[in-house]
Symmetry: C2
Subunit: 541 residues, 2 copies
C-alpha cells in the first residue's frame, strides 16, 4: 500500500525557486577577470538565469544535451549551473588544468554543443577547436567591453548572448531522475570517465551535506568555496548555499592566492570555506608571513587529499579556525564522510589529534563497508583494513557511455579504489589506494601511513612510498623523499625515524632522495609516474 503524500519530485528547479522566494536578498560576491568585486543577490542571479535559459533554447540546445564550461568560481558559472540543469540540459564542468588532449577527449566524448569559457582559456581552446567538431557555439564569460579578439568560430560574449532575451521563462517539469550535470574523473590510467548526476542525487546530497554534522550550512553563514566549480560541483556548496540562503563569495581565478583569499574573507566576513590542502597551506603561509588575521573565519573544510595535522593545528592555535576533514569522490557527488567538530577537552590531546585527521563518519544516505579480497565484510574496529565500498542515491551506478565498470559489484556497491579502516564509532580512515597498497609476504602495508610518518620528519618536504619487487617478500616499500630547502638528513636517519612509529616489518627497505615528485592535474602524487621513474630500481641484497 502506498502512502498518500504529494508526488513532488526533488529537483534543482525546486531548490532554485525556493531560494528565489525565501532568500531573494541573499548576496553573491564574485571576483572575475573583468571585475574585482561583482555583487548582486539571489533574486538578480535567478532573473539572469532565466535570460540564459532563453538564450540556450535560442541556440538550439535540446533537452538532455550537454553544455560545457571551462570556468572559475563566479556568478556567471553559478547562473550556468542553474540555467542549464533546470532547463533540462546537462551542465558539463571541465577542469581547465587537464592536458589539452584530455580536454579534447572529454568535450568530444560528452558531445558538448556549446562551450562557455573564461577569457583566459581562449589560448587553450583556439588550437583545439578544429578537433571539436560537435561544438557549435563558443561563449566567453565576459561582457562586450572586455571581449578579447579570438579565432574561436562565432565566439560571443556571455552578456551579449543573454542581453536580448526575456527574463521570464517557464521551467519545464522534470523527473527527478533526469540528468543535470556531468563531471569527468581524471583517473591516473586510461581516459577520463564521466559521472552523470541527476536532480534527485543533487537534492539529496545537498540535504545531507548541509546537516549540522557535515557542512552545517545556515542562513547566517558566509561561504567561500575555494574548491573549483569544475571539481565535483565545488563539493555541492553552490547548491547548499542556495538551500540555506547563505551568502556566497566566489574567488574567481584567484583561488590559489593567499592574499586575495585573506582580503575576501576579511571584507566579506566569510566564516566558512572549503578547499584542498594546498590552498590552506597557501593561505596559512600568507597569514604567517604578512601578520594578517582572518577573524571572521570559524571553520574550513578540507578534502581532495589527506590534510596534514600540522595545517589543522596551525589554523586552530594561531587563527582560531577549526578544520574539518572530509572525504568523497567525483563518483559520490562528492561527500561520503565528514569529520564533525570534536570535543578537544573531552577527548584529550592524543585522541583529538588521532581522530581529527580521519575522514569522519558517513553522512546519512551513504552506506560504507570494508571488505577483504573475497568481498567478505571486515570488522569496524579501527584496525582491520580492506577495500572500501559505498552505496547510496548520490553514488554513480555506471559511467557515461561506458556500459559496465569493474568498479561496480554485482550487488550494486561501488568500489572506491581506496583501502580503509572504520572504527566502532563509524569513523573511516583511508590507509591507501588499492593499487598503491604494498603487499609484503601476503600482508598489506599502507603506503600513506609511511608517507605521513616520513613527512612528519622536520627535514622532509614531500614523500612518496611505492611497492618494489622483492624476491623474498614479493613487494617491499621504497621511500622517495624531497628534502626541505637547506635541510639535511641521511638515509639511515630517515629509516631510524620509523622505529616505534610503525610496525618493524613496515619500515621501508631503502630511501631515494629526489628533487621533486610528479603530480596529477588535480595536484595529487602520481604514483603511476613514480613507479615508471623507478621501474629499473632494484633493492640491493
Amino acid at each position: 500500500m502506498n502512502g498518500l503524500m504529494m508526488d513532488v519530485p526533488a529537483t534543482i528547479t525546486s531548490l532554485m525557486q525556493f531560494a528565489e522566494n525565501v532568500h531573494p536578498n541573499t548576496e553573491i560576491v564574485s571576483v572575475t577577470a573583468d571585475n574585482p568585486r561583482h555583487r548582486y543577490t539571489f533574486a538578480d542571479a535567478f532573473r539572469r538565469t532565466r535570460k540564459l535559459a532563453n538564450a540556450l533554447q535560442a541556440l538550439g540546445v535540446a533537452r538532455g544535451e550537454r553544455v560545457g564550461t571551462l570556468a572559475w568560481n563566479d556568478y556567471r558559472h553559478f547562473e550556468l549551473y542553474y540555467a542549464v540543469s533546470c532547463a533540462g540540459m546537462v551542465c558539463h564542468t571541465i577542469n581547465p588544468r587537464l592536458f589539452a588532449e584530455q580536454i579534447e577527449y572529454i568535450v568530444n566524448h560528452a558531445e558538448d554543443r556549446v562551450l562557455f569559457l573564461d577569457p583566459m582559456f581562449i589560448p587553450l581552446l583556439e588550437p583545439l577547436q578544429s578537433k571539436l567538431p560537435g561544438v557549435k557555439h563558443y561563449v566567453v564569460l565576459t561582457d562586450e567591453q572586455h571581449m578579447p579578439a579570438t579565432e574561436l568560430p562565432g565566439a560571443i560574449s556571455y552578456e551579449a548572448l543573454i542581453e536580448p532575451h526575456s527574463d521570464s521563462y517557464d521551467w519545464p517539469a522534470l523527473e527527478e531522475t533526469a540528468a543535470c550535470a556531468l563531471c569527468y574523473t581524471s583517473g591516473t590510467t586510461g581516459h577520463p570517465k564521466g559521472v552523470l548526476y541527476n536532480h534527485r542525487s543533487t537534492v539529496l546530497h545537498t540535504y545531507a551535506s548541509c546537516l549540522p554534522d557535515a557542512l552545517g550550512i545556515s542562513r547566517s553563514d558566509v561561504i567561500l568555496p575555494i574548491v573549483p566549480m569544475f571539481h565535483v560541483n565545488a563539493w555541492g556548496v553552490p547548491y547548499g548555499a542556495v538551500m540555506a540562503g547563505a551568502k556566497l563569495v566566489f574567488p574567481g581565478p584567484k583561488m590559489g592566492d593567499g592574499e586575495t583569499l585573506a582580503a575576501l574573507i576579511n571584507e566579506e566576513r566569510v566564516n566558512l570555506s572549503a578547499g584542498v590542502p594546498t590552498v590552506w597551506l597557501a593561505l596559512l603561509n600568507y597569514l604567517v608571513e604578512s601578520g594578517k588575521r582572518v577573524d571572521s573565519l570559524k571553520r574550513i573544510v578540507v578534502g581532495g587529499a589527506a590534510c596534514p595535522l600540522s595545517i589543522m593545528e596551525d589554523f586552530e592555535e594561531k587563527f582560531g579556525v577549526y578544520t574539518h576533514a572530509a572525504w568523497g569522490m567525483t563518483e559520490m557527488s562528492p561527500v561520503g564522510t565528514f569529520n564533525s567538530r570534536l570535543d578537544r577537552q573531552a577527548l584529550g590531546e592524543a585522541e583529538y589529534a588521532k581522530l581529527r585527521v580521519k575522514a569522519g563518519r558517513p553522512i546519512y544516505g551513504v552506506e560504507i563497508k570494508i571488505v577483504d579480497d573475497d568481498n567478505r565484510p571486515l570488522p569496524w574496529d579501527g584496525v582491520a583494513f580492506g577495500a572500501l565500498k559505498v552505496r547510496g542515491p548520490w553514488i554513480c551506478s555506471e559511467y557515461f557511455k561506458l556500459e559496465s565498470s569493474a568498479a561496480h559489484d554485482q550487488d550494486g556497491w561501488f568500489d572506491t579504489g581506496d583501502v580503509a579502516t572504520i572504527d566502532a564509532d563509524g569513523n573511516m580512515q583511508i590507509t591507501d589506494r588499492s593499487k598503491d597498497v604494498i603487499k609484503s609476504g601476503g600482508e598489506w602495508i599502507s603506503s600513506i601511513d609511511l608517507e605521513n610518518t616520513a613527512v612528519a620528519h622536520p627535514a622532509v618536504a614531500e614523500a612518496a612510498v611505492i611497492g618494489v619487487y622483492h624476491p623474498k617478500w614479493t613487494e617491499r616499500p621504497l621511500l622517495l623523499v624531497v628534502k626541505k630547502a637547506d635541510a639535511e638528513v641521511s638515509r639511515e636517519e630517515l629509516l631510524a625515524w620509523f622505529d616505534g612509529k610503525v610496525a618493524s616489518w613496515w619500515v621501508p627497505n631503502d630511501v631515494v632522495f629526489v628533487d621533486s615528485l610528479p603530480h596529477t592535474a588535480t595536484g595529487k602524487l602520481s604514483k603511476k609516474d613514480i613507479r615508471q621513474q623507478m621501474a629499473d630500481y632494484r633493492f640491493a641484497e
Copy 2:
C-alpha cells in the same frame, strides 16, 4: 536523459540501518510506567526491533496492514515505530486523549489488526473492545511482572510477545512510496481524518527538519521530545535523532510534569527539547516556584499553537534558553516553517520581539503561498493576509479512504485552513483560522491578533474572539475573557486597552467575562464550542 546514479530508495529502513552501523552506542533513556529510568543504546533498540518484527509476522500482520499504538513517549513505542514501518506495515499512532467514541471510530476506520497500549489505557479500551471487531490482538507495553489483570481478549505483555523471537530479521526491500505511518487529525468538525505517510516523505522531512535553520540536530545533542509520539510522530524527532545519532530522552507519561521534566533535563544533560506552549508554561512555573535551574538546556522548539512572547522572554532572560517558534500540521509530517535563531543585537529589541513570535520561514521541501478568495497569490509584504496553501513531498495528497477533499486544489496545493501573512524575507505569521476570521463589512479581522492583544493585559488569563452577527457589518468581533485569579478589570478598561494597538475598526464590540473556555483534545481553544455557547448572543444597539 536520466542520470547514472544508484537507484537506492529513501526508506526508514535505511535510516535505521545507518544508525545501527554509525551510531550504535548512542543512548535512549526512558521513563515508563514500570521503570523510572530505562536506559539502553541504539544497538539494543534495533536488536529488539528485529525481535518485534518477527513477533508481528508471527501474529499474522500482513504488509500494508495497520498496527495501532496508544502509548506515551518511551523506548517500546520507539521500537514499534521502526519495527512496524520497516517490516512494511503501517504504524498507526492514536491520541489517547481523544473521546472514546473518536478512538472507536479511528481504530475501526484504520482497520487496526493489533493494538499496543500502555497499561494505563486498559480502562479506556476494556469498555470499547466489543466495538472493535477488527482488532485481533492486544499487547500491553510492559513486562510479565508488571502485567495488570485485564479483560482485553488474549492480552499479552510486550516483553512476553517479543521474548521468544529471534533478533535476526531480513528487512524487506520497500519502495520509498510505501505507506509507513498513519495519524488522524482531530478536526473540530466531522470525523477525524487519517494522514498516511510514506517512507520517502518521512526521510525527506527528516533531512529538512534536521537542517541548521530548523531543529538543527547533531550527534552532540541530547533531545527530550515532550511532544507526544502520537502527535504527528513527535514532530519527527524520533527520526531526526536517529539520522544524527543524538541521544534521546523520553518522558513517558510524565510529559506535563514540570518537576519530572526538570529532573530529566538536569540528570541527562538535555540541551534541546520540543513541545506545545502549555508544557513550557508548566516547566517555567515549576522552575520559578522551585528555584531550580536547567543549565544544560539551550534551545526549545514550540509548536502546536502560537507561543506567547512572555514565555519566550522568561525562558531567555531567566534561564538562558532560546525558544524557536515552528509551525506545521498533521497533514505536513508536520514541519512547514521554522523560526531559526535571530540575532537580537542586530535586529534591536522591537524587531526581535516582533519577528520571533512569527512561525518562521518554510524549510526547503515546503512551498507556501497566500491567496485571496479567487485563489490569486497575494504579495509577501508582511501586511497582506490570505488563505495559506502549501505543497511538497511530505504533504498529504488526500486522506486515508477519503477519495477527495475540499482542502486540495486542482493544481495540487493543500489549503491549510489558516490565514497568514508572509514578509519579504519569507517569514510566515498565522493571523487566523480561515473559519475563525471575522468578516466585517467585506474586510477581514484577525481573531488571533485580538486574542494576543487581550492576553497581553495583566488581568487576562485567557481570551477568545469570535465573529458574531451584526446587522450593519455582517460580523463584528466579540471578546470572551477569563480573568486571572484575584485580578479585576472592567469591560471599558479592556476595550480601551486595544486603542493604538490595533486598527480602530478592529476593536471588539463587546466583552463577555467567563469562568473558563472550552478546549479541544489537543489543548487548543475550541471556537466551535464557543460559537455554540454564544449562539444566542446579540450585540446591544
